[in-house]
Assembly symmetry: C2
Homo-oligomer: 280 residues x 2
Amino acid sequence: MPLTLVSSQRLFEGWQKRYRHQAQSTACDMTFSIYLPPQTAQGKKVPVLYWLSGLTCSDENFSTKAGAQRVAAELGMALVIPDTSPRGDAVADDAAYDLGQGAGFYLNATQEPWRAHFRMYDYIVRELPELIEAHFPVTEQRAISGHSMGGHGALTIGLKNPERYTSISAFSPICNPCSCPWGEKAFAAYLGEARQEWEQYDATLLLEKLGVALPIKISQGSEDSFLKEQLKPEALLAVAKRVEVEVDYQLCEGYDHSYYFISTYIEAHLRFHHQHLLAS
Amino acid sequence: MPLTLVSSQRLFEGWQKRYRHQAQSTACDMTFSIYLPPQTAQGKKVPVLYWLSGLTCSDENFSTKAGAQRVAAELGMALVIPDTSPRGDAVADDAAYDLGQGAGFYLNATQEPWRAHFRMYDYIVRELPELIEAHFPVTEQRAISGHSMGGHGALTIGLKNPERYTSISAFSPICNPCSCPWGEKAFAAYLGEARQEWEQYDATLLLEKLGVALPIKISQGSEDSFLKEQLKPEALLAVAKRVEVEVDYQLCEGYDHSYYFISTYIEAHLRFHHQHLLAS
């Protein structure tokens, strides 16, 4: 699996790099970004935080706007930022921002025209970590986080694969996609009309079914315009209470859905993951 | 002079706001961003750092990518980020990225078709601070900084108006625009072929002529692809040595011209300005 270096830039004494590679799971070229903190220059292997981005994003939004590298450099963590879907002329797409390219929802599609390439679940859970761990100075310690659609991805992937991660966090996650417009539209397209197929990708339903073996931290802005209709943290929190799972949930007064919100709280999330990586 | 609020977002316990207003100096609508740190919520007036951006930028690049608000919130400074030129259908433009809209060079143009609107020097030095000080909880203490074309702007405006600022800093500034392709092209267009007209907008020539009454800090990446042909810090440093002016100049090994570079060193620049604002 050869990696093609797209760019390499210095920041916070480490290196922000973009790579392109031919992915098996999504059957197309994929681009990802990785931040290697300065500790790796001394040959040290560091743990990895996987960051899953939201609708319309590529690997660049978090890389340029969140300010996470400053904290990752201090703590000695690598950041891996995948794209949000397969891409390219040969990949199915839709004119809407919430379906198709840029809107992979971190699942394996079963329906036409999506199922050939839209296999982001396999890409994120298996293929990308294997690639990262084969090519970069990282340990097999992984944490996972994300925003909005990527918060949904981090929660569902973390809940289903607790042996692969030490902690999960999310900003403004889509908590109950089976019961919100974004989720219902995407799941119907990618997974078909049979709703029981959707349940494997719904954090609230997974938490009810599986419980949780991992620490979870969620931050949510109170002035997020998607909060009521799309994100529904109250559904997840109600289930967490019922199954007696502790979720470190913070409602952040006045904050919205943007990267300004993420940049304000990313340090707390990185320290949360660092603490659990250290303890693992 | 009424201000129209374009957006208001919370970050680092303060507020990032965008405004539009009808500017007299540039004879068109101008947009700027302002970060108001949390201290202003308690009615406190805070000093202002003016940030001048580089070619192709608007007020949004620095706002979203530099990570400056975190430090400004800690130190209690407002950040004012103007646009880089007049804009609009009625404003002259050029297809090139380094002339016309997005490339105002912080001067007052004297030539057609530019002179009606391209009066960024007057806008930055007088009109914008008057507006800011009339409408926001800020003191009349000002510092000035910028990047690339905006570093040129910060240096030239600071050198010519030492009574209006407490300190100047720049990232990767165009230090000697009279002797580099970007400067020669822009100055010929905006100011005409008479080179003596250009000298009032050249930091190296101004330093030679005026000396300096203000602390100056400059950061420059060693791997900046514009360093040799366009930026020429060695010209400024040679004059500084000759006129016995101290410039706090830092060559940052491995860094390029991007906002990744700025984000790494912005904290040091804000602390530099804060120290001189406190002392003033």
